[in-house]
């Protein structure tokens, strides 16, 4: 993954929980950088999420500090005090304002964060900042992930080259002990925070808000997009500027790439499932129908069992709460028509569909038949592996 001008990274092993690996990552931005964020909607959000929510409206960033091993969630006043100490130490090292520092934590919840270890770790980090340390950053933020997650895109704004680099972690919407979904994207584009926020919100809905592993929502989910402003493109003042077309497509692609990596690393996942919904009352209705299918334990276990059980897909459409007409519903699995006009297709041959189900990439297409709303959602199957990871794990 390439350098992003104006952005440097360093990692350290602080021993917060894990032994023999890095668990702290500092991403530093040159002065003048802007930031946008999408944070968990959980009503029991962690202390770091509350801090970030309060700082985002200013839209300025000099540092993102991320630790793994402890989520600093459900830690009461002590949790907020830990955030304050980490933020103060970072601001002092970088010579920036407190509100320019963003924090994220992932790992066990309900245990006090040993913030002294983080502050000690930061001491060495400020001097070790280097460009393009994305792989090291992705390694440092992993918890139950089985592989580090990163993606990059080269694009342009107004004909001038722009770079996007992102890292993510997560192997469930929420992994054992709230391991959380975190993603951080850096670009050298020169964009006001309001424009960034608008672009990020839209892209997040089509990527991280369109994936599901187990339907559970972490207290700590955090997605951030920061822009250093080092690229030489013309000034952009609104998100609707047509010169942003390539950048938007690149951001969409990068976020989808990261989000799909999270699903592929889903706990116990053996199959990657793409659910395409067309013909719904609206794009949001289509997404909710897709998520109802993607979250259904019965659909997910059928996929694990390689059973083309389209009846469970019908059930999930019905329970989504969105407008549907049983007698207009059409379902294709692996491109093969299974049901149309509310009935199994005449002469339905399960053989090709059964063969598709044995693969590792499953495609389900539902046409609701009542409107023009479309969406795509990604999920994985629900296997014995998921139960083993989550039932056999002890905090």
């Amino acid at each position: 993954m390439p350098e992003v001008a104006g952005v440097r990274v360093a990692t350290a092993a602080c021993g917060i929980k894990y032994k023999g690996r890095t668990d702290l990552c500092l991403i530093a931005f040159d002065a003048g950088s802007t930031i946008a964020g999408v944070l968990t909607r959980s009503k029991t959000a962690s202390a770091p999420v509350e801090w970030c929510r309060a700082q985002l409206p200013r839209g300025r960033v000099r540092a993102i500090v991320v630790n793994s091993g402890n989520a600093n969630a459900f830690t009461g006043k002590a949790g907020s005090a830990s955030v304050d100490r980490i933020v103060a130490a970072t601001a002092r090292r970088l010579g920036c304002r407190l509100g320019d520092v963003f924090v994220a934590s992932t790992g066990v919840i309900g245990e006090a964060l040993p913030d002294g270890l983080v502050v000690d770790g930061l001491a060495g980090l400020a001097d070790g900042l280097q460009p393009a340390q994305w792989k090291a950053a992705a390694d440092a933020i992993m918890t139950t992930d089985t592989f580090p997650k990163g993606a990059s895109r080269l694009t342009e704004i107004g004909g001038k080259p722009v770079t996007l680099c992102g890292i993510a972690k997560g192997s469930g919407m929420i992994a054992p002990d709230m391991a959380t979904m975190l993603a951080f994207v850096a670009t050298d584009a020169r964009l006001p925070a309001g424009v960034l926020q608008s672009l990020l919100k839209k892209s997040a809905d089509r990527s991280f808000n369109s994936i599901t592993v187990d339907g559970d929502t972490s207290t700590s989910d955090t997605l951030m997009l920061a822009a250093s402003g080092k690229a030489k493109h013309p000034k952009i003042e609104t998100a609707s500027d047509s010169r942003l077309a390539s950048f938007k497509a690149a951001l969409d692609g990068l976020l989808c790439d990261l989000a799909q990596q999270v699903v592929r690393d889903g706990e116990g996942a053996s199959k990657f499932v793409t659910i395409t919904v067309t013909g719904a009352a609206s794009p949001n209705a289509a997404r909710r129908i897709g998520l109802a299918i993607g979250n259904s334990p019965l659909v997910k276990t059928a996929i694990a069992g390689e059973d083309p059980n389209w009846g469970r897909v019908v059930m999930a459409v019905g329970k989504s709460g969105e407008r549907a007409d049983r007698d207009r519903l059409a379902i294709r699995i692996g491109g093969v028509a299974v049901a149309e006009a509310g009935e199994v297709v005449p002469g339905y041959d399960e053989a090709p569909v059964g063969a598709h189900m044995k693969g590792s990439e499953i495609d389900i297409h539902v046409d609701v038949g009542i409107g023009r709303g479309k969406a795509r959602v990604w999920t994985c199957d629900l296997t014995h592996g998921y139960i083993s990871i989550n039932a056999d794990y002890r905090s």
Copy 2:
């Protein structure tokens, strides 16, 4: 289970799908009987559900016909025609109006119901009607259930004895191939259909709408309450009549009993879980928080693993979408305080909580700390057994 005056039952083996067992049940009511029903909210409801929904406003009943082995769901126009033929044959046998006949089907979906077998079976049933055949009825409507489900209550209205008998089936909100939750309750009370409907709706919210196995909603879920009017109590005209107090309590108790039997037979369930939510913004908010906890795969797998992982309970409260304040939340497991005021309790000793988790009856109490709304929800754990039943099953 006792007789209910004015109500008779017969069962038959039609060979719809299963061999060597009954699969058809006729519950017949004397003239003048009233009926109320609560049906699935699925937008892809089955043909029998659509028929019942259309007849319920009349509130008159002479027969309920239930078959197992085929759900007659997602069967298009052929499905509605099957319902018509079964209803016509029943009305002819009993000499009643078509609209007095209610139907329910449970079993595989997407396959045409062999209604000729049902019509043939009905021929013998009308002559074989007997009182108090509840056990036979409960047996005939089972699909993947591992035991038949029934309950009865003796109560009074205005000092006169009244009987309630109910049967149910289901081992998931929806079992393999939409096995569905069905429940039928008969009483000899003399109550107008409007009063019955009001009582049933309220009791259903506290019982069948407060249980969850996997969060999936069947296309066929059906709960009906029919009253023969043979009891000698004073005339009752409104659901708010204070003389209904005992009857309401008995109906609540009976429906909770049946609903809990369904949860105890939950697919792969090894533990029965009672979730009590207090201090929510409203009773409905409390129920939604309870269901968010009861539906969370991470909470359910933690219970399967006997792990008192209260962090996952916090997460589920947070994702419910209901108003909550992280710093007022209190959690008790097995009666032991685990977290209070947004933090683990000082000196928390996991030993007694761990011991409680090893039992087969798990109690989780969440106090949201912001209001007076209360609710109780029942669920089971999520085990390897659930995956085996649903992933290894082939339609």
